[in-house]
Structure formats: C-alpha cells, structure tokens
C-alpha cells in the first residue's frame, strides 16, 4: 500500500519529451491510475483555450487506447487555481462568432469524452474551480475538493452575459437537482467548499496535501465509480416534467421582474437547464451551444465582458506611468480620523483585511460610537457568514481606539473622514502634517471639498491625496483616488496600491468639484428633482430609470443618501457649475418640512419598518408647476440621461481621468449605472453621438440651456467619431 508520502507525482518519469510547452502533465502510477495535472507554464492560472482542450483530447486518446489504465484523476499544480475557466478573450469585442462556436463544440466534445470513459474519473480540486474548470469536474464521476480558502467552486457565466455551455447547464441539474442548480447557474454563483459540499457540487472535502491519495482510495474502493449520493429520489422528482415546469415558471417570473428584460443570459440559462432535462445529454448540449452563440452576440454580454476586463485592469493599475520603480511595501497600519459612518466603515474594512487601524475621534464618546459601528459591521458579517467568529474577533482586535493625540510613527496612511467642513479639515491636516513622518501619506475621504486646497494647509502638499470611499464602504467596490494639484506621483501610486490591497477597485481622478462619480451623478439627481418639482410623478421618474437599468430610481436614491446630504453636495457643485446646475428648491422645502429621507423615515417615499417603501401620497404638495407633467417616459429618460452623458463627456474633455473606460467604469462601479449598457459614454456611442447632440440642442433651444452639449460632444458629432473604436454610430 502506498501511504501518505505518496502524492504529488513528479513529472519527469514517464512523460515523453516534447518540444512545445505543455499545459497538462500526464503521469501514470504503478497502479495504472492516470493523473492529468493542469499546469500552464509561466502562469499562476490554468485557463481553457483551444490548445489546452486539444492537449486534453490527446491525453484522452492515450487513455482510451491503453487498456491498462484503470482510472483518471484530473488535478492542478497551481497554488490557488484549479482551472479558472475559458479564456474570456474569446468573448471580448472583435472575437469572431464562428471561432466561438468551434471552441464551444470542442470543449463539449472533449468533456463528453471524459464523461463516457468506461473507467472511473475523479476531479481533485484545489483553488478556483470556475466556469469551464467546474464543467471539467462535472464531467468526472467523482469530485473531491480541498477546504482551503482559495478553493471556490461555481458557474459565474451569467455574470458575463453568457451561460455554462460546456455541459454545466446540462450536468449540474442532473447532479444536484434543478432547484439548487438554478440557484447556482442563474445568479452566476461561486461558493465556498463547505457550501459546495452541502449543495452536492462536490462529494467530499479533503486537505490539499491528501487530495490525490484520497482520490486514489476512492478509485480503489469503487466509490468513485459508484458514488452513493443522498436525495436521488428527490432530485429525480424535482427534475421530472411537471415539477420542472413549475420551477421554470416561478424562476422566470422572478428573473423578468428582477432584470426588467435587460439581461438575457439568466433567462436563456433557465430555458436550457429546464428544457435540457427532458431529453438526451447531446440534445441538451446542443441547446447550450445555440444559446451561447446567441448570447455572445448581445450588447449585454459585450458590456459585461468589458466590465470584467475593466475590473481586472483596476486590480492591476499602478496609478502612474512608471511601473518599474521600487516595490510598494504593503500597508500595515493606518489611522482613520473621524469615527462616523464613513470612518467606521473604512476602519472595519481595512481591519478585516489584516491592517491595523487607529480609530481616532475627539472624545471617547465619539470613539465609542465608531467602535460600536465597526462591531456591528462585524456582527452583520458573522450573520451572513462572511467571517468566522475568530476572523471577526481578530478584525476587532486590529482596531486601536484613540480619543487623544497619538504618535504617527508606524502609520503608513492617515485617512481623514471628519465632517465636511473645510476649516475643520484644514485644522486636522495642519496637526497631522506637524506630527507625521515624511513617509506618511495624508489622505482625505472628502466627497465634496477640494483636495488641493486642503493640501495647501500643510507644509508638504505633495503627500496629500484624496482616497474617496463610497457609502456603504463594505458594499461599494469603487474608490476614487484624487490627485491634487501638487500631489506627488509616488503618493498616488502608493494610494492606488493601498486601495488594491484593500480589495477595492481604484480609479484615479484629478481634483475637481465632485471628482468623477458625484460630478456625473449630481446633474442627474438634480434634474430628477426639477422634473418632480415641475409636475412629473415620483413613480414615473423612478420607474423610468429602473427601466433604463439603474439599480434604484433617482428620487429614491436621494432619500437613501439623505435629503440634507444631497442638498449639500448639490450646493457644492452648483456653486462651481452655476450655468448648468442649480439645487432644486424642493430639497430645501422638504427639509423645512422635516423630511430627511430614509434615515428620518420620510422623504419622497415613506419608510416604515420592514415593509417596502411607498411613495408619499401627499408628496405633490412640494410640486410648483405642471410643466413637466406631460412628459412621456422617453422624454423623462432623455432629460436625465443626457445630462449624465454630457457631464461624463466633460470629465473626459477636462482630462479628469485617463480614458473613456475610466469614466464608464467609475459610473458602473460607483453608482450601479446600468452595467449592460456599459456606462454613459458607451451608451452615447450606441445612442449615436450626432443624434444625441441634435436632441440636446433642441432641448437647449427651448431655453433649457443646461442641455447644451459640451464642446467635445459637438466636435465628435461633427467628426463622426465615437468614444470607443468600432461602436456603431
């Protein structure tokens, strides 16, 4: 018997030498178990592309042509990735549809070969096992996964606007039953090993070091070939005609109301998973293929794939031109000044990422409130199983409360999150400046005030930068890194790196009122306020934008932000851009009537307990005219969206960010701007820039000068240019 020291087969022994670097290493043990190890050369990940699939196919030739082979184990040599899925470039802009079809068919046929092998097959999974990676595993008889943190299992295809088409939509429902399979596939879920075991997506969990040995034992004992699984009866019942029809209708209803028809992928996936159950595997695979070819052509897929790439890019950007300079040391300790909602949110997030945080406020009562907010965030996370109790406690342990001055030695970054008052902030920065060592970055989380002006309060303005988190910190991935007039590029680089270390997505923005996201969002919210004030109904305004694909209507968003906060931000911007923005009077009148929005229980909507918010029936009393009462939904949409597009173009025109990608990425991640539309500038391209400019001119000519298109848009319309190459005009 081989014992524990056996696993980790060494490669060189039996593989024939080949010129081409291989992505899969084959090794046959003395017991005639063939181990296929995915190990793409010079890469930390394994991906499935045409070459790899062909390589796998060749190995299958070897296996089927060799009677001696008793079983197959598929595994990976990477430290944190099993197989991350297909190479997504195949779906990106410019990929030829025929090639995509070929790739899908190739994958299907190779995986199918695995599934019909007459010998037992086991997937030994450690690390990310996603999309195609999990579909390989699904083609095996038996799946063993490591309980490691890096092991994640799932089929997130629908998040890219496509569906699992290498057998995932076919095999998962057959393995774990339709209801659970839809739970995974429709939402594009990725689950932790424990949950995967609970779902039945894997058969057992074994530490990484013992994976191969466990696979070997299951093969020799016959379990791999004939696994005993629970709930077989229940699964066949839920997969039967009548039950699946019921499930289908229910799921479809939910999907349509949730996506408002903007996201075809989950609907298609639902269709394929349910219809595929009633026939042969081959037929079901065909359905997958057809659906995939259709989905890959949709704008939603293109936008979502692009978003994926933009997110990957944000994880890697250096925040400066010079990539080669010295390695930025990971941040170990920060200080957050101000223990309010934002300060506590930042402190909690950073401490959960292993960073020590001195949480400072002016007295112990304020600090206590902050510590309590951090503790609540951890407790909520505990309830949602984001943290284990030990992780939550360790996170709390990393909070260093301080109600007094403390030395800043050892603090890498100070983030000021105090009240939005310039005088107060300048005071704080002057003190920080005097106390901080030369290497300490002084950052502000202001969302409205000028970073450059604040920097002038210090003797070293070059180390002052904006690091602007969005509320709620634990949910919003985007962070704006604001470059002041005199901020040192190295400081920007370190700030960007810090944001990445936090697992957030940075976008670098030049200092300017409202920065990027609020600058573009405010004209839209202001316009919604004006439209309401001049007679448009709350429901019409919000429904219009929900239909457009926003996660929340603009008036509802004002309620969520708080009427007072919205007014303050609007005022700040309106001061700077008075020609095209003015705070709608309605906000002030609502405040006078003590309507604060969600936090006060009343705004445009009434919030009572756990019930859904309803529009305040008496809200019309704040309207002042009826001039907009007759606008139809398209007109309403154009009013609001045009202003966003116009402001987005201005941000680019003023070079606040580096590219149109940055603008669109910021708006999608920072405001939830309809992801399937790809952002305001991508939307402009599709709408047609000359059409856009024409319609805006028309609105402007009726005296509504805020609609006057900016120079960049006018010039682009004239030159027939688009923001993105290849976009249809």
């Amino acid at each position: 018997m081989t014992t524990l020291e056996a696993p980790a087969p060494k490669v060189e022994l039996k593989t024939p030498p080949e010129a081409k670097p291989q992505s899969i290493v084959r090794y046959v043990t003395d017991e005639q178990i063939c181990i296929l190890t995915f190990d793409k050369p010079n890469s930390s990940a394994n991906v499935l592309n045409k070459a790899t699939l062909q390589e796998l196919d060749n190995h299958l030739d070897f296996i089927t042509g060799n009677d001696q082979i008793k079983a197959v184990i598929i595994t990976s040599a990477k430290p944190s990735i099993f197989i991350a899925g297909a190479d997504i470039k195949a779906f990106a802009d410019g990929a030829a549809p025929e090639q995509l079809g070929e790739l899908i068919e190739l994958g299907q046929s190779v995986f199918n070969r695995i599934s019909i092998l007459q010998i037992p097959t086991v997937a030994a999974i450690h690390g990310a096992c996603l999309c195609g990676g999990y579909e390989v595993a699904l083609a095996c008889n038996y799946r063993i996964a490591s309980p490691d943190k890096s092991t994640k299992i799932g089929l997130p295809e629908t998040q890219l606007g496509i569906l699992p088409a290498w057998g995932g939509s076919t095999r998962l429902p057959r393995l774990i039953g339709l209801p659970k399979a839809l739970d995974i596939i429709l939402a594009g879920k990725t689950v932790a090993p424990k949950q995967a075991l609970k779902y039945g997506m894997v058969d057992e969990l074994v530490p990484r070091e013992y994976l191969i040995e466990a696979a070997r034992k299951r093969i020799l004992s016959g379990v791999a070939a004939h696994p005993k699984r629970k709930n077989r009866l229940l699964i066949s019942l839920s997969n039967s005609g009548a039950a699946s029809e019921l499930i289908y209708r229910r799921a479809k209803g939910t999907l349509i109301s949730k996506t408002r028809g903007h996201y075809p992928a989950p609907l298609k996936a639902l269709d394929v998973a349910v219809r595929g159950l009633s026939g042969s595997i081959e037929r079901s695979l065909n359905l997958e293929l057809e659906a995939m070819e259709e989905l890959a052509q949709t704008e939603a897929c293109r936008s979502l794939v692009r978003l994926f790439f933009l997110q990957e890019r944000a994880k890697k950007i250096s925040g400066g031109k010079d990539d080669s300079s010295e390695q930025v040391r990971p941040v170990q300790k920060i200080s957050v000044i101000g223990a309010g909602v934002m300060g506590a949110g930042i402190a909690q997030w950073a401490s959960a990422r292993g960073i020590g945080v001195v949480l400072r406020d002016i007295n112990s009562e304020q600090v206590a409130k902050g510590v309590a907010s951090v503790s609540k965030l951890y407790n909520d996370g505990l309830k949602r199983h984001v943290f284990t109790p030990v992780e939550a406690r360790s996170g709390m342990d990393r909070i260093y409360p301080s109600a007094g001055e403390f030395p800043l030695s050892g603090i890498d970054i100070v983030i000021e999150a105090a009240v939005e008052k310039m005088g107060l902030k300048k005071d704080i920065f002057r003190k920080l400046d005097a106390a901080a060592g030369p290497k300490t970055i002084l950052a502000t989380n202001t969302s409205a005030l000028s970073v450059s002006e604040l920097a002038e309060a210090t003797t070293h303005p070059e180390r002052v930068v904006g690091i602007h988190f969005f509320n709620p910190v634990h949910r919003m991935q985007l962070v704006e890194v604001i470059v002041g007039r005199r901020t040192d590029p190295e400081v920007v680089r370190r700030a960007v790196r810090f944001v990445q270390q936090l697992g957030k997505l940075p976008v670098v923005v030049q200092d300017s009122p409202g920065f990027l996201v609020n600058r573009i969002l405010m004209p839209y919210l202001i316009e919604a306020g004006h439209l309401f004030e001049s007679g448009a109904r709350v429901e019409d305004i919000d429904e219009t934008m929900l239909d457009f694909g926003m996660p929340m209507g603009p008036l509802r968003l004002i309620d969520e932000v708080g009427i007072d906060v919205a007014q303050h931000v609007a005022d700040t911007l309106a001061q700077k851009f008075s020609s095209r923005m003015d705070t709608p009077a309605v906000l002030n009148r609502m405040l006078e009537a003590k309507l604060l929005g969600r936090k006060g229980g009343r705004g445009f909507y009434i919030y009572s307990g756990k019930k859904d918010a309803v529009v305040d029936a008496e809200i019309d009393r704040f309207q002042r005219s009826k001039s907009s009462a007759n606008l139809n939904r398209e007109e309403l949409r154009n009013h609001m969206v045009f202003l966003m597009v116009n402001e987005a173009a201005r941000c680019l025109e003023e070079r606040l960010v580096g590219s149109a990608d940055d603008v669109d990425f910021g708006m999608i991640m920072g405001t939830g701007f309809a992801p399937f539309r790809g952002g305001p500038l991508r939307y402009a391209d599709r709408f047609g820039i000359s059409t856009l400019v024409n319609e805006m001119d028309q609105l402007a000519s009726r005296g509504e000068t805020r609609f006057a298109p900016c120079d960049l848009l006018k010039q682009m319309a004239q030159d027939k240019r688009t923001f993105y190459p290849g976009a249809h005009t």
Partner: protein, 427 residues
C-alpha cells in the same frame, strides 16, 4: 562599564472594575489586549522590535493558556516576538517587570512589554474529582445502557461546584484562607477593627480625591455588543464610606471574633496593566523620555500563615542589597491586601523587637501617612491579583513626576508567604 538599567518608558491600564460589573464579560486575555493595544497606540512603538512580552496572571483563563502569548498576538505584536506568562501570586505584575530587568541586565534583550491581567469575574467554578470521574465515564460510554448507568451514579453533591476563586485564595500549605492570615496578624499585632476601618475609609477618600490623577494612567475600554458603552473610570472607590457604615459589616473569615470584613479588605476586581520597559540606552536611542528607572528589587520568603508581613522581609532584604531604606522613599506603595495586614507591616517596620528577629540592630523605619498609598490603594481601587504589582509601579512613577520627587518604594505581600519590594527612581 556599568550594568544596563531598566527604564519604564510608559504605561497604561484599563479601569479597575469590581467583579461582576463593567468588565465582567472580558477575559484576562481581552483585558490585557486592550491595555497593550492602548500602550502601543500612545507610544507609537514599532511592535516588531519588542524582544519579549511578559505578563503576570494568577487565574489563567482555561481558554487562553499562556495568556501573555494570546495578549501579544491579539494586540498585533508580530508572531516572531515570544511571550511568557509569570505567576508569583499577588506580585505577578512585579514579577513581569523584574524578569525583564534580569533579561536586560543579562544582555538578553532591550525592549519588553510587561504587565499583568486578571479577570476575577471569570475565574471558573470547578467540578469535584468524583464528578469529573463520572463525566469522564459518561464520555466513554458507548451504549444507551452504559450511559444510563453512569447517569444514575451522579449524586447531588457532585454538582456542588468548587469555587475557583476561593481555592486560589487559600494557602494549600498552611490551609488558611488569605483573610484568615490577616486575622492572625490582627490578633498578634493588636490591630483593632476600628483601626482597620479607619484605614479603609482613608483609602477610599484618597482614591476619590485622586480621580483626576488616576485617569492619566487609564485607557478607556470600549464595550460593544448589544449596548455600546465606554468605561473610563475605576468603579471601586465609594463616596459613602464612614467608620459608622463600615462598622455595620460582619467579619467574613471569623464570624465570632474576627475583625476583617469586606469593607477593610481589598476588593475583588477585573483589570489589566501594560508597561513598556527598555534598557536605558535603547530608550534614549528611540527618543523616549522614560517615567523612571527600576533601581533594584528583592523578593523574600516568610511564614505562609503570616504572608501579610511579606513586605517587611522584602524591604529589609532590598535594603541589604541596595542600601535604600524606608527613609529614602519619597512615596511608598504597600499593597492593601487587607487593612490589618498593612497596619501590621507598618508596626513591624518601626519595631526594634521585630528588627531583631531579622538580625538587625535598628528598626527599618517609620512610615508617615503622607508618604504611604497617597492615591488610595487596593481597598478602594480593587486588587486584580495578577495586575496590581504593575499598577503600583505605574501609579507611583506618575506620582513621583507630579511631585517632582525622586524615589518610590513599591511593596506587596504575596500569598504563600512572600514579599516583594521594588525601588523606583526618577532621573
């Protein structure tokens, strides 16, 4: 070349809270973590340069063995820094400091985080050995019948807990409770109930008057959970203490003839203290201005049944070593385990007769009240046993600074028949 000296750079402590009150939910590890966390924050020390963490703790939590290591890691001190828990009963907090002293003078390190942590609230109740044996059998029982059989063997007496706190405060050698040893001193040295109560009243009055001063050494404890609360003050000192009030209390350890009551003994309390100590050279290199120097110290043994006199023996021994006697001290802290015990110590210090039992010609010295426990003592502030030694060092150094004075003597009696005496000096 002279020996390297140990300096106390800074220190901080949690508020001291009576057992079962504000801090009852926090274990010794949590209390210690909070103190070290605050110490690191206010000193800005790079924790990576710490050579070792040494903490005193008497009732080590069952779920945090080597509690010093747990405190160190939870407070964010890097893994490579080792940690040790020390135990010399009531002088455990002193032991942590003197261990660092030994290491520094031996050249084995120059930066230490030391202190003491104690949750008297969380000292567990224990099962007696008969019950423990039955639980063991139950765990091993396989069949239902076996299990039922073990169940039926339990007797009501098996569920009567042994109170860990009581056990810890009882001397296993002489078989006496600490309070009973204090009664012996009261009898033998004629310390009346009235004298003891008056001493206790004074302790409370001084602690109350020192409230402001004491906050300088306290870090707030932020309690979060259902209701968030911040604890910033000791809750032991009582405003309504008068000899009349104290006279109404019944003796605890000798109901008929005793004099020691809950009112004239130290309070049972939760709390932690953390001190940053360094070699003098290291502190200078890092630019710190230390609170003071540990000039030297002595531990001495004595009769366990009269453990309360420990300070006399230790002070005498320290004088032999250092040439510093009671008269050299600008202020003195003698831990108030029991009023009877402190008063007995004072009597013995000034007694020629007692001095002769130590082989001395002269008495050790007279200690005027205005130099002794000037900011109150454990009768008012409480006595988290593992932490008190470190608190006395911190409190007396801060007081030296306030008075612009030079020397302090810190002394404690130690259960099991020992005494500790530490000499501190401000430059």
């Amino acid at each position: 070349m002279s020996e390297p000296r140990l300096v106390i750079v800074d220190g901080v402590r949690t508020p001291f809270s009576k057992m079962g009150t504000d801090l009852a939910q926090l274990g010794a590890d949590e209390l210690g973590r909070i103190a070290v966390n605050a110490l690191l924050t206010r000193t800005g020390l790079d924790p990576a340069i710490i050579d070792e963490v040494i903490f005193g703790c008497v009732g080590q939590p069952a779920d945090a063995a080597n509690v010093a290591r747990v405190i160190a890691l939870r407070a964010g001190i890097p893994e490579h820094v080792p940690a040790i828990t020390v135990h010399r009963n009531c002088a455990s907090g002193c032991e942590a400091i003197t261990q660092a002293y030994e290491k520094i003078t031996a050249g084995r390190g120059s930066v230490f985080v030391v202190g003491g942590a104690e949750s008297m609230s969380q000292i567990p109740l224990l099962y007696n050995s008969s019950a423990a044996a039955k639980f063991g059998k139950l765990a091993r029982a396989k069949t239902l019948m076996q299990r039922l059989r073990v169940f039926s063997s339990f007797r009501p007496a098996d569920f009567k807990p042994r109170i860990g706190l009581q056990l810890g405060l009882t001397d296993p050698v002489c078989g006496l409770n600490m309070g009973e040893t204090a009664e012996i001193l009261a009898r033998e040295h004629s310390i009346t109930r009235e004298l003891q109560d008056a001493f206790a009243v004074e302790s409370h009055a001084r602690a109350l008057a020192a409230r402001e001063k004491l906050t300088e050494e306290i870090c707030p404890v932020y309690l979060s959970g259902k209701s968030s609360k911040v604890i910033t003050m000791d809750n032991g000192p009582r405003k309504d203490q008068t000899p009349e009030v104290l006279a109404t209390l019944r003796p605890v350890f000798d109901r008929k003839n005793g004099t020691v009551t809950a009112g004239n003994a130290s309070q049972i309390t939760d709390g932690a203290v953390a001190l940053l100590v360094m070699s003098e050279a290291k502190a200078a290199e890092l630019g710190y201005k230390p609170l003071g120097v540990l000039t030297g110290y002595a531990y001495a043994g004595c009769d366990p049944a009269r453990m309360g006199l420990g300070p006399v023996y230790a002070i005498a021994k320290a004088e032999d070593k250092l040439g510093l006697g009671v008269d050299h001290a600008d202020i003195v802290e003698i831990n108030e385990a029991f009023a009877a015990q402190v008063l007995a110590v004072l009597k013995c210090l000034r007694s020629e007769e007692f001095a002769r039992t130590l082989g001395r010609q002269r008495h050790l010295g007279k200690l005027p009240k205005d130099r002794l426990n000037v900011n109150g003592g454990s009768i008012a502030l409480g006595h988290p046993v593992g932490a008190t030694g470190a608190r006395l060092v911190l409190t007396s150094l801060k007081e030296l600074e306030r008075r612009g004075a030079k020397r302090a003597l810190v002394s404690l009696c130690v259960g099991g028949g020992q005494g500790a005496a530490l000499w501190l000096e401000r430059n």
